[in-house]
């Protein structure tokens, strides 16, 4: 059996609307520059946007196990290698840009075997033109209700904050055993090669404590990311997850009860051999979406389609208005303070 989840008073949760993501990686860079730009962290992407169907980051993480499948015993997994996460290569910038060799050498990595990277299969579609498709999957730490990482640590170095449910690694207690990296079924934990401790997304908790939304949420130009306390009935997160139930967890069968929820991607239609639209068809196979979100994804897609039909008929949809996010600040459950106004900007 899975262990009993840690007690929390409140839980911060997120909703990512996959239909609005541009795949621009602004979130990824916002996180990278804020938290993981030190030595030993080069290969870390606490936030990453993967192209799906694809292998994801680290490579083939969905095949690796971990978690408490269907609420049962912990499932053994393994630690991916750096090359599976994607090595942070060095490039021959000096040669190409400053040594007059720009006409004879092309830009290329000078370290490691450049046969896989964190975004190696970015924008690579599945299926044949004109019926090919892909979509973006936004990944951070899921700040699970029952974190497999926390349960796996023999040193109680991982804890879930009582006041907001954020899952953190205490680097003073961490001995670098990396059982957490194995046990996390979403493979969102990295090893810092300088400090020799495990590290991961902290949901920008120093910002949260100041009323500021995390960097990846605030910086998103596509208004993809919603934040809020799950019990805050005025928050967009509560409405999308609890009231309208239009956002669902990724791989619920992993059994860790993740607190990042997704509005699943809608599809463009298929074309027939004549190049005509096949009415009512969907480019992304439902079976593939079910493999990510479970069978509940069918209900959500039909819900979204019926809301869109309502709007086309001239009716109003508060759900779609919320997802569109006409007011940027409405997305963040009250965490709307501008970080530049803080005494010590974060």
């Amino acid at each position: 059996m899975a262990p009993k989840p840690p007690n929390v008073k409140r839980q911060l949760a997120a909703v990512f609307d996959m239909n609005k993501c541009l795949g621009c990686q602004t979130c990824t860079v916002a996180c990278k520059t804020l938290w993981t730009d030190e030595e030993g962290m080069e290969y870390m992407w606490w936030n990453i946007v993967s192209t799906m169907p694809g292998k994801g980051t680290p490579k083939d993480w969905q095949e690796l196990g971990g978690g408490f499948p269907d609420g049962g015993d912990p499932k053994p997994s393994r630690i991916p290698k750096v090359e599976e996460y994607g090595e942070a290569w060095e490039f021959n910038y000096e040669d190409v840009f400053y040594s007059g060799k720009g006409m004879t050498q092309h830009l290329q990595p000078t370290t490691g075997d450049a046969d896989w990277g964190a975004l190696w299969d970015e924008d690579q579609a599945t299926g044949d033109y004109p019926n090919s498709y892909f979509f973006y999957l936004q990944m951070i730490c899921m700040h699970c209700t029952n974190p497999a990482c926390l349960a796996a640590c023999p040193r109680q170095a991982i804890y879930k904050r009582v006041d907001d449910g954020i899952v953190l690694i205490d680097e003073e207690r961490c001995n670098g055993y990396r059982f957490c990296m194995e046990a996390c079924p979403y493979k969102r934990i990295y090893f810092n090669h300088n400090k020799k401790v495990s590290q991961k997304c902290i949901l920008c908790y120093p910002r949260i404590e100041e009323g500021v939304a995390p960097a990846c949420f605030r910086q998103c130009p596509g208004r993809v990311r919603f934040l809020g306390y799950m019990d805050d009935e005025d928050s967009a997160v509560h409405k999308l997850v609890k009231k309208w139930q239009v956002a669902i967890p990724l791989h619920p069968e992993y059994g860790t009860e993740p607190n990042v929820y997704y509005v699943p991607p809608l599809s463009p239609p298929l074309f027939d051999d004549e190049g005509d639209v096949i009415e009512g068809s969907e480019r992304i196979p439902r079976s593939y979406l079910e493999s990510l979100f479970g069978p509940d994804v069918n209900r959500v897609i039909e819900l979204l389609q019926s809301e869109m039909a309502k709007v086309r008929n001239g009716e109003k949809s508060e759900m779609l208005d919320t997802l569109i996010a006409y007011q940027w600040k409405s997305m963040f459950g009250g965490f709307t303070k501008d970080p530049s106004t803080l005494k010590r900007p974060i």
């Binding site: 262990p3 015993d73 912990p74 499932k75 053994p76 997994s77 393994r78 630690i79 991916p80 290698k81 750096v82 996460y85 497999a148 349960a151 796996a152 640590c153 023999p154 040193r155 109680q156 001995n175 670098g176 055993y177 990396r178 059982f179 990296m181 194995e182 046990a183 990295y190 090893f191 090669h193 020799k196």
Partner: protein, 226 residues
């Protein structure tokens, strides 16, 4: 028994008194270590049920760990400091952390701070234990204190030192410390005492770390020459 070399002495682990400089005793290949029989310590895997995390138990249920079964120990002191030379076979030298899934080899000498401290649980809240923990990628060994499973705390003790090397499939490591120590919960030893000791070895190549190790399941008696 004093002398420039240790005399052979099979059986109980004795810490021999020897007139030798720190630099000689700290060197596992030094002649000063020749001539003494080493004590052969048999090691076992820590029990799976003693692993404090369900994940570790599930993962290692059918996997072998604690692969090091034989540890050759010699011990000496020069009135100022006490030295343990540990030798064990390991098919691969893991002397650093080069990848996310790679772990270094390691060894530790463990003492009860007061003699009644339990070994298997690494002490208890009122009965601390103190380990001298060597790893090839650390500049100096850690002094580790523990008061029960999962409570280990690493500290840097300037009196603690180590030298180790790997050749022909075998690690040879000397760990030493001054007899006296002022650290909180550090063990204090003295010439002429009869004390207890335990050992642990980790094979990094088998992903052994934390509780996944080869250990002496019982305290071993340790006689320190006057």
């Amino acid at each position: 028994m004093a002398g420039s070399q240790l005399a052979p002495d099979a059986g109980r682990m004795k810490v021999r008194h020897v007139e030798a400089e720190d630099v000689a005793l700290l060197d596992p290949g030094s002649d000063v270590w020749n001539g003494a029989n080493s004590t052969d310590i048999l090691l076992d895997s820590t029990p799976l049920t003693a692993q404090p995390s369900m994940y570790v138990q599930a993962k290692w249920e059918n996997l072998e760990y604690g692969r090091t079964r034989n540890l050759a120990v010699r011990a000496a002191h020069n009135n100022d400091r006490i030295y343990f030379r540990l030798q064990w076979e390991d098919p691969s030298a893991e002397d650093g952390i080069r990848d996310t899934d790679q772990f270094p080899d390691a060894a530790a000498v463990l003492f009860p701070v007061a003699d009644d401290a339990p070994l298997q649980s690494m002490g208890s809240p009122k009965q601390p234990v103190n380990a001298w923990y060597w790893r090839p990628d650390l500049e100096s060994p850690y002094s580790i204190t523990a008061q029960g499973t999962g409570t280990t705390r690493r500290t840097v003790d300037p009196e603690l030192g180590a030298m180790g090397g790997y050749s022909s499939g075998r690690w040879s490591v000397v760990v030493r410390r001054a007899f006296q120590s002022n650290g909180d919960q550090y063990v204090v030893l003295a010439p002429g005492e009869a004390r207890k000791v335990a050992f642990a070895v980790w094979q990094g190549g088998n992903q052994e770390r934390g509780g996944l190790k080869a250990v002496t399941l019982e305290w071993q008696p340790l006689e320190i020459d006057a």
